[in-house]
Amino acid sequence: MMRITVTVNGQVYERDVPGHRTLLHFLRQDLGLTGSKEGCGAGECGACTVLLDGHSVNACLVLAPEVDGRCVETVEGQAKDGKLSTIQDAFNRNHAVQCGFCTSGMVMSVQDLLVRTPKPSDDDIKEAIEGNFCRCTGYLQIIEAVRDASGRTEGKGGLKHA
């Protein structure tokens, strides 16, 4: 067991963890923050994406002892004062959510993107979420949501009627 101190969504937690515990299992089991999901446990699907000191990482590939003294942001910390964040709001408005299992990781990857690149091109968006698998949406409404969140008004899709 190792004692770690970590700031998650602005709150400080001190816990004893076994050395092999992943950050994802630490968040989900030790802290009860189950918003970050496990889709593969092998760093392939991105459902567990969180920000570590402001950079997106697959929480299943980081060991809990590695985050000692560092800051973690998860999906649970995004909405403030009962209001969805700009990104969450854009996802909602653009119907970028279906089953929801990839959604937490998507939101965190997009958060990372927009902090670094406030006006991303479509290529930037696709690159940023390339590591986040979604089996439901086909990504299009997610891309539209990111455009919207970044203030771009062009490229809004829509169903056509014939």
């Binding site: 989900r28 923050l33 189950t34 918003g35 970050s36 999901k37 496990e38 889709g39 593969c40 446990g41 092998a42 392939e44 699907c45 459902a47 998860t74 999906v75 649970e76 995004q78 909405a79 969805l84 969450q88 996802f91 909602n92 408005r93 653009n94 119907h95 959510v97 279906q98 089953c99 929801g100 299992f101 990839c102 959604t103 937490s104 939101v107 968006i125 696709k126 690159e127 979420i129 390339e130 590591g131 986040n132 698998f133 979604c134 089996r135 439901c136 949406t137 086909g138 990504y139 299009l140 409404q141 997610i142 891309i143 899709g157 829509g158 169903l159 056509k160 009627h161 014939a162």
Partner: protein, 803 residues
């Protein structure tokens, strides 16, 4: 229910209100079974077979049992239960013989996941490895080993399915319409070819997971990530001979399903572990690797089509033979075989048709339902074949399709007559053809070819599907009015990401004339609380549950009007309502609020009438019946949803790499109830179809080991793989018995994406692909074969190909 729809006055249906559960999912607050922990809960793991086929000589569990923290160990020897949807052929844990790589042979439950893993590894199984039968065509040979020597002894649904004991055939479905040999004799052309595709994994982002607690008195609680809580409950009770009152199935948010969670899977085994562990709840979640081989996949298919075409380009006869690879267990594969069999000709009229469809056992992970229920697979062959036929007879493929599509008055394979309200496949084809500029390259596209050295091709493919369901499929809705005049909707239809809850809320709000904010549908489902819905499958949810919802609204309003009539001293015909109150039409100030009526109306002196307002609606498919087992004739279709895809593809003629520049998809949905949810289904299904078309599929070695059970080796599409331009179009030919004219479209977007791309690649670089997925290397190989097109056509003595 069309007669009740007045499209220009619709307030909710046709719009795009917020998805009901979006905020919960966006904030991480939505609860999935994966997220759940119960007091005293144990964690399960299974020991799996490393062989495709082997005799189990013995299992030594003593080391696992001795491990501290292990609370239950089970092997097949203790579990004499078999499960199966239609053919009851699968033990909960293998007994005597393992039938596929990855099959569970033993299971443990322990205090922690780590202990459970160690215990599962400590279980020693003594195997005598046997030669497996891996290819489904080999499994049909006389000397093939039998995957199920006891096939003749298994219970099965004999009204619908026909297993052939002494063979590896789990089911044979037949269809006979007209006289196919006579049709062939009259044909100007006979064109025959075979098409194939491998097994494919669904890849829900949340793998299968279940928690079960087998309590005192054989009361069982189950929390599961599944599509069909009532099917799980009913099959569970059938397996354990329990009354339905003793089992409760609860389904919170589900992280994707796509057919892979349609049936019953982990629940019985997890419940048995709980029973063995003295009633403590037990949780089992499959790893991603287990999702590929412990849990089921989509069946592989070999599809042979022989088409006879008249001089005018009309199809006059078609013989279709399907060999479906069930894998080790029949599960849904037998029903996929049946449903594909009766739809095998696509949205085309074939006056003389013959279908033989076989479900074949092999020693591989087993097949189940997967979005499209066989149609993604057989439309790959069918729509590549229609392209070939058009080419051979010298007709434009679009024109050939238009000539042969089902139209009002056409008779389907099963003998059903198409009406003007069945839907319009021709219009879907026209829409996508126009969108991609079918038939020629624009000046811009020609310039792009010159600049890049790549070749551009345009292809189209049509599709159709009806729900594959029993003729007596039903659904029900209960509406409960709260004392503030808001309404709770109870339904057994699960929300698996497809938007069922939001769309049902729209239907209810529309029919009641209430604001959407007054309608509440719980995200979770519970067989004890919610009224029966058969299953959340088959693209039937909105039609059946939507109709039940409309009837429940009418029932609720009738009951409210009955009490209001007494309060207002008016007869129902003189009253009307808005979202707040019921009033007398000619004296609008004589009114009573729904809030005042909701739990019983009380007069000022406290004297009361009425009681809680509960509306009940039930709907059952109308006029359907089992198909004749010998001829496949009868009416099996709740509704037919037609569609088409048009694709522009750019192919590198050196490497075979290709990219989709544009895809346009059109579906005759009857009525777009929620425009953005519909577009989400259309694009999501299309991209899933892109994965099937371009890269996904199970790869085995010669011993039957699955070689690619991971996202690294079995790639699925990412955001990078999207076509440059994506268009989704709704054609709206109203379905007379659909809610507000709507019909189902959940599965359809995935169907026929692959052949549209294959047809476009053919146009671009002239290569014929008959196997999907079409990886770049497959295109390269096909391009570099010098074989002429005529090689693909069976030489027939009777009027061979004119070319």
């Amino acid at each position: 229910m069309l007669e009740d729809a007045t499209p220009d006055t619709l307030k909710h249906v046709g719009g795009s209100p917020d998805r009901i559960e979006a905020a919960a999912k966006l904030t991480g607050q939505a609860l999935y079974v994966s997220d759940m922990t119960l007091p005293g809960m144990l964690y399960a793991q299974v020991t799996k077979s490393p062989h495709a086929r082997a005799r189990i000589r013995g299992i030594n569990t003593s080391k696992a049992e001795a491990l501290p923290g292990v609370r239950a160990v089970l092997t097949g020897a203790e579990l004499e239960y078999r499960i199966g949807l239609y053919v009851v052929d699968k033990y909960l844990l293998a007994r005597g013989e393992v039938r596929h790589f990855g099959e569970a042979v033993a299971a443990v439950a322990a205090d922690t996941l780590e202990i459970a893993r160690r215990a599962a590894d400590l279980i020693e199984v003594d195997y005598e490895v046997l030669p497996p039968v891996l290819n489904h065509m080999d499994a049909l040979k006389d000397d093939a080993p039998l995957v199920h020597p006891d096939l003749g002894k298994y219970d099965h649904v004999s009204a619908v399915f026909t297993p052939i004991p002494g063979t590896n055939i789990a089911n044979q479905s037949k269809l006979r319409k007209g006289d196919v040999e006579k049709g062939f004799a009259e044909a100007e052309w006979l064109i025959e070819r075979e098409y194939t595709n491998p097994s494919v994994q669904h890849v829900p982002m949340e793998t299968h997971v279940a928690i079960a607690q087998w309590k005192m008195g054989d009361e069982v609680d189950i929390w599961t990530s599944c599509q069909s809580p009532f099917a799980v409950r009913n099959l569970f009770c059938y397996t354990f001979r329990l009354p339905l009152t003793q089992v409760r199935v609860m389904v919170p948010h589900v992280g994707g399903a796509f057919g892979g969670k349609a049936g019953i899977h982990l629940e019985p085994l997890v419940a048995c572990l709980s029973r063995k562990a003295g009633g403590r709840p037990v949780k089992f979640q499959a790893t991603r690797e287990e999702e590929f081989s412990l849990l089921p996949c989509r069946s592989a298919l070999t599809y042979r089509i022989k088409t006879g075409v008249a001089a005018d380009g009309k199809i006059i006869a078609q013989k279709m033979t399907m060999y479906w690879d069930a894998g080790a267990y029949a599960d849904y594969a037998v029903n996929v075989t049946r449903a594909s069999g009766y739809s095998a000709a696509g949205p085309y009229e074939v006056p003389n048709a013959w279908v033989d469809a076989y479900t074949v056992y092999t020693n591989k992970p087993y097949g189940t339902a997967y979005r499209g229920f066989g149609h993604v697979e057989f439309f790959w062959g069918l729509e590549r074949h229609m392209e070939l036929v058009a080419q051979v007879i010298g007709m434009d493929p679009l024109e050939f399709r238009r000539l042969n599509t089902l139209k009002p008055g056409s008779i389907t394979l099963t003998g059903e007559k198409i009406t003007p309200n069945t839907g319009n496949p021709t219009k879907c084809l026209d829409v996508v053809a126009e969108s991609i500029g079918y038939g020629a390259l624009t000046a811009e596209e020609t310039a792009r070819e010159k600049a890049t050295g790549c070749k551009i091709g345009k292809g189209i493919a049509a599709l159709h599907k009806a729900p594959a369901m029993p003729p007596f499929t039903s659904s029900s809705i209960v509406l409960k009015m709260n004392s503030d005049g808001t309404v709770v909707v109870n339904t057994g239809l699960t929300e698996i990401g497809q938007g069922a809850n939001t769309s049902l809320a729209q239907v209810v709000a529309e029919r009641l004339g209430f604001d959407l904010a007054k309608i509440r549908i719980s995200p979770d489902k519970d067989t004890d609380r919610d009224p029966y819905d058969w299953q959340t499958v088959a693209s039937k949810g909105l039609v059946l549950a939507g109709n039940a919802a409309i009837l429940a609204c009418d029932d609720l309003l009738a009951k409210a009007y009955e009490v209001a009539g007494q309060v207002l001293r008016a007869q129902p015909a003189d009253m009307d309502h808005d979202g707040e109150k019921i009033f007398v039409r000619h004296h609008r100030d004589r009114a009573v609020t729904f809030a005042a009526l909701a739990i019983g109306y009380a007069y000022p002196d406290g004297n009361a009438i009425g009681g809680p307002l509960i509306g009940v609606g039930r709907y059952i498919a109308q006029g359907l019946a089992n198909l004749d087992k010998e001829t496949g004739q009868g009416n099996c279709a709740l509704d037919w949803t037609f569609g088409a895809h048009g694709v522009i593809v750019e192919v590198d003629p050196e490497s075979g790499e290709y990219h989709v520049l544009k895809i346009c998809s059109a579906f005759d949905v009857g009525k777009a109830v929620h425009a953005e949810i519909l577009r989400g289904q259309a694009v999501g299904g299309m991209v899933q179809g892109l994965g099937t078309a371009c890269c996904e599929g199970y790869i085995y070695d010669e011993q039957g080991h699955l070689l690619n059970p991971s996202f690294t080796d079995n790639k699925i599409p990412t955001a990078r793989d999207l076509p440059d331009v994506i268009e989704s179009v709704a054609v709206e030919t109203p379905q007379l018995d659909g809610p507000f004219g709507a019909r189902g479209v959940g599965e359809h977007p995935m169907i026929s994406v692959a052949p549209a791309i294959g047809n476009a690649i053919l146009r671009a670089v002239g290569c014929e692909l008959t196997h999907m997925p079409m990886r770049a290397e497959d295109v390269w190989r096909a391009m570099n074969q010098a074989a002429p097109i005529d090689n693909w056509i069976t030489k027939t003595p009777n009027k061979s190909c004119k070319k």
